[in-house]
């Protein structure tokens, strides 16, 4: 084990969480903070992982947990730094990663990104940065009714392949992976700390989840995983080096991303071969093409192996059933 991941370094935080119900209720939830590397920390919550970068300027928060966990997230961040939260970055539109946007942003402080034009008007809270497709889906996915309150929407978006920030003496690359988990995915590369926050492109505890209705695809997730492998450089004996913070699950390095990429590639190839052989979705599911990985990635009460196989099948087979 490396020192950075030792139990002695983890910081438990007991926090009161405000539930999202109309009549607020309170629950105690412990959010775990683990040092990732350099200036970057991973905070484990009910919505998966948030990433926090600290320094002498400000706090950067990648993904904000579900709404109900935002107070807990803020309490955990407060244990790490007294600097203002200046940037919130969303890796996708998912509520478990954006639910706390409004609360975390309001707890922070605005910093002007563009000197000549400020599209956010009089907002004084922290910037929320995401790919433009995240804003589109949060603000008016049907063209008429927004699914989330305006305060949670990204205030600063990008539509190119990458966006760059320089915060706390560190270069941050925001890298868009098209049509992967969704059509608005961003992974964040903290170049000096050598940490990549992947969002749900990569998980250690469940199969990849890609939502065709939100523009996701198997090919996109695989491209995202291969991109992570391009960026990550391991230390001696394929260990350490670049630290990878998954959307869900534990801190990782390149080897474990390669394991995940291999699994998804193999399952994709198996399902594709079954489709080519004329098998229906039901037949493919009965054949259990993931059975050698289910003990690691199947979530019986969540994103099950059968659901994952169905998603792969539909993605590869198009409209065929």
């Amino acid at each position: 084990m490396t020192n950075r991941s030792s139990a002695a370094c983890s910081i438990p935080v007991l926090a009161l969480l405000v539930c999202a119900a109309a009549k607020p209720s309170f629950a105690q939830v412990e959010l775990e903070v683990l040092p990732a590397q350099g200036n970057v920390f991973m905070i484990v919550g009910p919505g998966g992982n948030s990433t926090v970068q600290i320094g002498n300027e400000a706090v950067v928060v990648v993904d904000t947990q579900p709404t109900a966990a935002s107070n807990g997230l803020l309490a955990a961040i407060a244990k790490l730094s007294s600097k203002p939260i200046r940037f919130v970055i969303n890796t996708s539109v998912d509520l478990e990663h954006t639910g706390g946007n409004e609360a975390v942003s309001r707890a922070g402080t605005y910093v002007r990104l563009i000197d000549t034009f400020d599209p956010r008007g009089s907002r004084s809270d922290a910037a929320i940065i995401a790919h433009v497709n995240v804003l589109d889906r949060m603000s008016s996915p049907t063209g008429t009714q927004a699914t989330t309150a305006a305060g949670a929407w990204p205030s600063d978006t990008y539509f190119t392949e990458e966006w760059e920030l320089f915060v706390n003496g560190e270069a941050l690359q925001l890298i868009h992976v098209p049509a992967a988990h969704t059509d608005g995915d961003t992974m964040v590369f903290f170049r000096r700390s050598d940490v990549i926050a992947t969002g749900d492109l990569y998980n250690t505890s469940r199969y990849p989840r890609f939502d065709a209705e939100k523009g996701g695809s198997v090919a996109g997730v695989l491209e995202g995983l291969n991109r992570i492998l391009d960026l990550a450089i391991p230390g001696e004996n394929q260990e350490g080096g670049t630290v990878v913070i998954p959307g869900h699950g534990r801190l990782s390095d390149e080897t474990e991303v390669a394991n995940y990429r291999d699994m998804l590639t193999i399952v994709r190839d198996r399902v594709a071969a079954m489709i080519a052989a004329g098998m229906t979705l039901e037949q493919v599911q009965r054949a259990k093409p993931t059975s050698d990985y289910d003990g690691v990635y199947d979530e019986p009460n969540g994103w099950t192996a059968a659901m994952f196989v169905a998603a792969v099948y539909r993605d590869l087979a198009g409209g065929r059933r």
Binding site: A7, S10, E223, Q238, L251, S252, V296
Partner: protein, 278 residues
């Protein structure tokens, strides 16, 4: 005075059994074919594996080791003693109490380094990083050092694709008998094993032994389309039955499983062979 000296001598002798430090030269006689040239494809005999492990191994392609992400992988803690594994064992000692805080082990093949903490520290969070050597803590049980290791990266129980998951726990017993060291490893894997896998390895104290320097830098060995992962689709691996056919071992035995570990399986094996089973 004499009684006191004898008492001190006895104490010294007892403590010697608790000192693992030194260079240890490996004895390779157990399971030599598997540990030397390496196992054959499709040889799953004598391992308590389940169907998930079989499918992983059936899909495995040795070309995996040509991938840049795989070229520098060392053996994990549970398999390391099976490979070329001369050992250098040192210790870190508390300067005041002189208690051993940790045993520090370096293995010859690729020089992976293990630390076995003896100071009672807890194992890390489930969300902490895993590693090839995992996180190990030890306690003495009589003259045996019992070591418990968690946080292992996914590894292998045999070098032909049979996997060991990252959910496995490794329990080991180091037994020193004068100049001989025996290590009993017990792998418990809820994903790929139906029963604990128990193996032993042996070393002899060797004061002249030195570990050779080593470094690994991956390189592109074969140009492939981006994202290519070598593997066999189910039902397409033509090598799987070669082991069974070459050695005249019925496939039921070659496919392994807990029943093939036990002496009673010899009777079943005879029945299979006499019955002309493939």
């Amino acid at each position: 005075m004499l009684a006191a000296l004898l008492g001190l001598a006895a104490l010294g002798a007892a403590q010697a059994q608790h000192d693992l430090t030194g260079h240890w030269s490996q004895r390779f006689h157990e399971d030599l074919p598997e540990r030397g040239a390496g196992p054959e494809i499709g040889d799953y005999t004598g391992l308590p594996i389940n169907d998930a492990a079989r499918l992983r191994a059936d899909s495995w392609d040795a070309a995996k080791w040509t991938m840049p992400e795989r070229q520098c992988e060392p053996h994990p803690a549970d398999y390391g003693p099976r490979g070329p594994a001369a050992l250098r064992i040192g210790s870190t000692v508390d300067p005041i109490s002189q208690d051993v805080v940790s045993w520090d082990i370096t293995v010859m093949w690729m020089l992976p380094h293990r630390t076995i903490y003896m100071d009672g520290r807890p194992h890390p969070s489930a969300n902490a990083q895993h590693s090839w050597q995992g996180f190990s803590t030890g306690v003495w049980e009589g003259d045996m050092l019992k070591v418990t290791t968690t946080h292992l990266k996914e590894g292998w129980v045999r070098r032909n694709g049979l996997p060991r998951s990252d959910k496995a726990t490794l329990v080991e017993y180091f037994l020193r008998n004068e100049d001989y060291l025996t290590l009993v490893t017990v792998v418990m894997d809820p994903v790929y094993l139906t029963e604990p896998l128990v193996r032993t390895s042996d070393w002899v104290l060797d004061t002249g032994l030195q570990l050779s320097p080593f470094s690994c830098i991956p390189a592109i060995e074969i140009e492939r389309p981006r994202g290519t992962v070598p593997h066999h689709l189910p039902g397409t691996n033509s090598f799987l039955e070669e082991y069974s056919q070459r050695h005249g071992i019925p496939l039921k035995a070659a496919r392994g499983g807990a029943q093939t570990m036990y002496p009673e399986f010899a009777l079943e094996l005879r029945r299979l062979i006499e019955g002309g089973a493939r």
